[in-house]
């Protein structure tokens, strides 16, 4: 397994405000797979993603990525892990407002010695003509594509997407999903996508349902539907 999560527990708060968000979650994802993590609000899906991304530490259990145990890693090692291995895409893009599209992408190109070709990426993502604009001058879809380009420029082995289409309309959502699909095929990037959207599960290789901090359902999708054919986005 490329991503191996074993019996991960995570809680917040103390006393009366104590909440156990992950109650011993175990899950695995193969290299090159697209995996959707679904669940209701508060089910722990974003927490699981953050733990895998090294953004949050776990209380117990194990979290191995490509054989590297990230539980208990020092902060600088976690930073190294994120910069070498991961790409992040968020619902609200998190672009640096005072940098242009190109410069936002360069933020991550700086972190790798072997980046993808910037122009090709801009072309692929349809951002070429917006390269010198600031995020505030772009539409939501264009901003999300910039965020994707920023994540992809360093050709990450693992792409973590937290509600990537959560703030987008249906058409733009489809475009983004087609893009993710294309990237997965082209670069073999392993993707973990946290989403509320019920349709997205149809395009991925693996689906995990979380409920109240536990795996409610976990299966490999044998009948994948291409992103462009997804309904009810």
């Amino acid at each position: 397994m490329y991503v191996e999560v074993s019996n991960v527990k995570k809680s917040y708060g103390e006393g009366g405000s104590y909440v156990e968000v992950l109650k011993g979650v175990s899950v695995g994802v193969e290299r090159g797979e697209m995996c959707v993590i679904q669940g209701t609000s508060g089910s722990g899906k974003s927490t699981l993603l953050n733990c895998i991304g090294g953004l949050d530490d776990i209380d117990s259990g194990s979290c191995r990525i490509d054989g590297l145990e990230i539980a208990g890693l020092r902060k600088d090692k976690l930073s190294e892990y994120r910069r070498d291995t991961l790409g992040f895409i968020f619902q609200f893009y998190n672009l640096v407002p005072n940098l242009t599209v190109r410069e936002n992408i360069e933020v991550c190109r700086y972190l790798t010695k072997d980046p993808l070709d910037m122009d090709e990426l801009l072309e692929t993502l349809g951002l070429k003509e917006h390269a010198d604009k600031f995020p505030s001058q772009l539409s939501g879809g264009q901003q999300q594509r910039t965020a994707i380009a920023r994540a992809l420029i360093k050709n990450p082995k693992l792409l973590l997407c937290d509600e990537p289409t959560g703030a987008l309309d249906s058409k733009t959502s489809r475009d983004i999903l087609i893009l993710l699909e294309k990237i997965n095929e082209k670069y073999g990037t392993t993707m973990l996508i946290v989403t509320h959207n019920n349709s997205i599960k149809n395009m991925v290789h693996r689906v995990i349902f979380l409920k109240d901090g536990e795996i409610a359902k976990h299966y490999v999708n044998e009948t994948r539907v291409p992103a462009r054919e997804l309904e009810d986005l």
Partner: protein, 894 residues
């Protein structure tokens, strides 16, 4: 119902306590210092202003060459001019009459004697007597018998009466002619021919003093010159800070400031004129608030000069010459400077004429309103308070702008909340009030605490600064309304309006714009293309562009701080430079000004000192605001005192390239004058002016002076060729009687300005430098905090992406570091330029010249100190960046 938003205020205060703590400390310090300054000022001024009444301050004084007769004092008290012409005609006539009578009597006696002798000889020869011995005997007998009768007969003759009348008449005519010639010149010089002269009655007080050598440590060496007055003086009395007035001949009270500098106190003994005295009192004379030895001194000298009090009999025991100083008071008090000047001018005329007719001479005349020793301190205290207040307002304005930027930033961060509140029905003014609350609360708190400190600690600090420099009387406590207005009302108004304008402008936008986070007042155009530098450099450049308003405020703050740095480093440097160059600023090691070029026997005063060289000198006035180049001066309006020198040909001391008029480099620099410019100098007590065209500049920074050769000087000022004013000499001249020497100037005298000022400000200046570092750090801290807060989200995001803290620090700290460094250098240049300008303005209002100077190392340190302040902040910034959690980006829910 109270606006529920008010609940945010305490929470905000707790959450952002560091920021508000810095702002409050900043404001408390500024307001406290200014408040302390004003309270101290008002307390001191109340004491100083009460002094003239309580201690019977004179309205002026004059010194006479010898003790005034009672008649002179009576006539002077009336304040009228004497009829000098009549007096001298009467006097001349009397003298002439005596001489004529004497001459007539001698002549008559001679003539009659001769006639008797001739008659006896003739008779003897007729009788055949030729023996001279017999003739002599006959003549003596005849003279004894007939001379008196013959004289009597001759006196009664008509011819004799006629001759006598003619002789008297001729003598009287000559007297009138001589007196008229002399009177015309004097009357013209002092404008004594004024018609309708209004007398200026005065009450005169004896205020004699002696000057003696003071030996503070009884080691036999002179440490200072002490001016001693009698303890029973009815005028210009002293306030005792400690101890009491002397009661026995061996007791003395000396100036408190001087005592402090000399390390002397009550119970110590000092030697005055070779005698030991016990110090029983430390005093402050009402007319010596600063120890100016001479009214023309650029600076007082509380080290080398002292004023003291002895009992009248103790005073009489001293052997040095008595200075016959008389103080006067007008019966009617006035504070009107014009009226005072008019009274002074009229009194001077009365004094000139009355001393002439009473056979005395004026040594000095000084109306009180021109007296440096009593006016320097209050005017300096006034000036300091005003300057400090202006500096305080600049800083408060900077703080207000920082506040405004912070609030602007908060509004941007809270845009969606504001949009929602506005959409829910909150009015714009309710939100304005909400966002205005914090700056108002902080300013009020700062002002309150600042005022409390101002009335306590800072007042004492400020007063101690003045007590370290001036000989001030003991001071009470005075409530200051000025302090309240200037340290509370004005800062509050500044803070209120600057913030109000910014907040109102920001909240003008529609609720929808807030909900969409669309707060840009103008649409963003296409991004500026950056040079093809490395990505990190371009990233930093973008951060820099993003924070331009912060950096503009920072620029003002840095210029202000650098200006203060220039002051803090430049003042001691300038003083030290002046002290170091004092000897270079002298033409010669010794400059002797003589009372006259001739002694009492009308012999030219000579010296055997080989290096001595005669010079002529005259003091004229240069109009400050109406010079040849029409330069506007900002001074008091009083004219600049200029010494005009007549220099010997082939002088060893001053080299003049060719004939013509030269000015000193100090004169040139002070008024921007150069070769070819014309200047007009005029007499102080005479309506006479002299025009000169400048031929060149002599490198002499010691004084505002004009030079020409002695021949030209004599021609110009109508002086005889053998007349001169003094000697330049490389060695001490020992063969000229001290009574003929008016003053001796050595390099030590030039350096006393340095010693005094370094003592007054030296230790404070060092503290001031560190305060500036803290101020700089506080300012940059507040602005850098805004920059990081503004980019908190991006910082959090790049952390998620894998950037290390060091890399993020280099991205977000380095732009500010570069800007601060650039601003520190540019701010120093601006501050230095500003300081040069301010120094020039200050110098224009004073006599003399003092060049602002900064050592290169001080220039570097001025920048380095600010950077040290920034270095402290950047360390804090680094930890602040380190503390920003990744949650900020993760929890972004727009």
């Amino acid at each position: 119902m109270k606006n529920p938003l008010i609940k945010r205020i305490p929470k905000e205060l707790v959450a952002e306590w560091h920021k508000y703590a810095v702002i409050v400390i900043f404001m408390v310090l500024m307001i406290g210092v200014v408040s302390g300054m004003y309270v101290g000022h008002d307390s001191l001024m109340a004491t100083i202003n009460a002094g003239p009444e309580e201690l019977n301050l004179e309205d002026g004084c004059f010194e006479l060459k010898k003790k005034a007769s009672q008649e002179l004092l009576d006539d002077l008290s009336k304040g009228d001019m004497a009829d000098v012409r009549s007096y001298f005609i009467d006097k001349g006539t009397k003298e002439a009459d005596e001489e004529v009578a004497k001459a007539i009597e001698e002549n008559l006696n001679e003539e009659v004697t001769k006639a008797i002798e001739d008659a006896v000889r003739e008779q003897c020869l007729a009788f055949g007597i030729t023996d001279e011995q017999m003739i002599r005997e006959q003549t003596d007998a005849a003279l004894e018998e007939k001379l008196e009768d013959a004289l009597e007969e001759a006196r009664g003759s008509e011819d004799f009466q006629k001759a006598v009348e003619e002789a008297y008449s001729e003598a009287h005519e000559e007297v009138v002619k001589a007196v008229d010639e002399e009177w015309d010149e004097t009357a013209k010089r002092y404008e004594l021919d004024e018609e309708g002269f209004v007398p200026v009655p005065i009450k005169i007080y004896e205020h004699f003093y002696r000057e003696e050598a003071e030996d503070n440590d009884n080691d036999g060496n002179r440490d200072a010159t002490v001016r001693i007055f009698k303890s029973d003086s009815a005028i210009d009395k002293a306030a005792f800070i400690e101890g009491r007035a002397p009661e026995t001949d061996s007791e003395i009270a000396i100036d408190r400031m001087h005592a402090s500098n000399a390390g002397a106190g009550i119970g110590d003994s000092i030697s005055i004129g070779g005698r030991k005295y016990e110090i029983v009192g430390l005093l402050s004379y009402v007319n010596y608030l600063t120890l100016h030895e001479s009214n023309t001194d650029l600076m007082f000298d509380s080290f080398g000069f002292d004023v003291a009090m002895l009992t009248p009999s103790g005073f009489d025991r001293l052997s040095s010459r008595v200075h016959y100083e008389y103080s006067y008071k007008y019966p009617e008090k006035t504070d009107d400077k014009i009226e005072l000047a008019d009274r002074g001018n009229r009194l001077l005329k009365a004094l000139i004429t009355q001393t002439l007719v009473h056979d005395n001479e004026i040594e000095d005349f000084l109306p009180e309103y021109l007296r440096q020793a009593s006016n320097f301190a209050p005017s300096d205290i006034d000036g300091d308070s005003t300057t400090t207040a202006v500096l305080c307002y600049v800083l408060i304005a900077v703080i207000a702008f920082i506040f405004a930027i912070t609030i602007n930033n908060t509004i941007e961060k809270e845009a969606s909340v504001i949009g929602t509140l506005r959409a829910s029905g909150y009015s714009r003014s309710e939100l304005v009030v909400h966002y205005m609350t914090m700056p108002v609360i902080v300013t009020l708190f700062g002002a309150l605490l600042g005022n409390v400190l101002g009335y306590t600690a800072f007042r004492n600090l400020m007063m101690s600064l003045y007590y370290e420099s001036y000989s001030l009387p003991p001071c009470g406590f005075v409530w200051s309304r000025t302090a309240l207005v200037k340290t509370t009302i004005i800062p509050l108004i500044l803070m209120f309006f600057i913030n109000l304008i910014v907040i109102v402008k920001k909240l003008q936008l529609s609720p929808l714009r807030f909900l969409r986070h669309d707060l840009a007042t103008k649409k963003r155009s296409k991004a500026m293309r950056l040079p093809s530098w490395s990505f990190l450099s371009r990233f930093r450049l973008r951060i820099l562009f993003q924070n331009i308003p912060n950096y503009i405020v920072l620029a003002f703050g840095v210029i202000f701080i650098e200006l203060m740095m220039c002051f803090a480093f430049g003042l001691p440097d300038s003083l030290n430079n002046y002290g170091d160059k004092a000897s270079e600023m002298m033409f010669a090691e010794y400059q002797y000004m003589l009372m006259s070029s001739r002694d009492s026997d009308n012999e030219v005063i000579e010296t055997s000192e080989e290096t001595a060289e005669r010079f002529s000198a005259k003091t004229l006035l240069f109009p400050r605001n109406n010079d040849a180049k029409k330069m506007r001066a900002f001074g008091s309006g009083k004219d600049e005192s200029v010494t005009v020198y007549g220099i010997a040909d082939d002088s060893s001391y001053v080299s003049l390239a060719s004939e013509g008029t030269y000015i000193s480099s100090a004169f040139s620099e002070k008024y921007g004058l150069g070769a070819g410019d014309g200047i007009s100098l005029h007499e102080e007590y005479e309506n006479k002016s002299y025009d000169f065209t400048i031929a060149g500049v002599v490198d002499y920074d010691g004084a505002v002076a004009v030079f020409m050769d002695r021949k030209s000087f004599g021609e110009r000022f109508d002086m005889d060729e053998d007349e001169f004013s003094g000697y330049f000499s490389q060695n001490e001249i020992k063969d000229i009687d001290e009574e003929y020497i008016a003053t001796v100037i050595t390099s030590d005298d030039m350096a006393k300005v340095t010693v005094q000022l370094m003592h007054s400000f030296g230790s404070v200046i060092d503290v001031f430098k560190y305060v500036l570092v803290v101020l700089a750090a506080a300012l940059i801290y507040l602005l850098a905090k805004i920059i990081i807060e503004r980019n908190e989200h991006s910082i959090s995001m790049v952390k998620i992406l894998g950037f290390l803290n060091g890399e993020i620090g280099s991205l977000y700290i380095r732009p500010t570091a570069v800007v601060v460094t650039l601003f520190a250098v540019a701010g120093f240049a601006a501050g230095y330029g500003l300081m040069l300008y301010l120094f020039k303005v200050i110098m224009l209002s004073m006599d003399g010249y003092f060049r602002f100077f900064m050592k290169p190392v001080s220039m570097v340190l001025s920048v380095v100190y600010l950077l040290i302040g920034y270095a402290l902040v950047s360390v804090i910034d680094y930890f602040r960046i380190k503390k920003i959690p990744m949650d900020v980006a993760l929890k972004n829910v727009e």
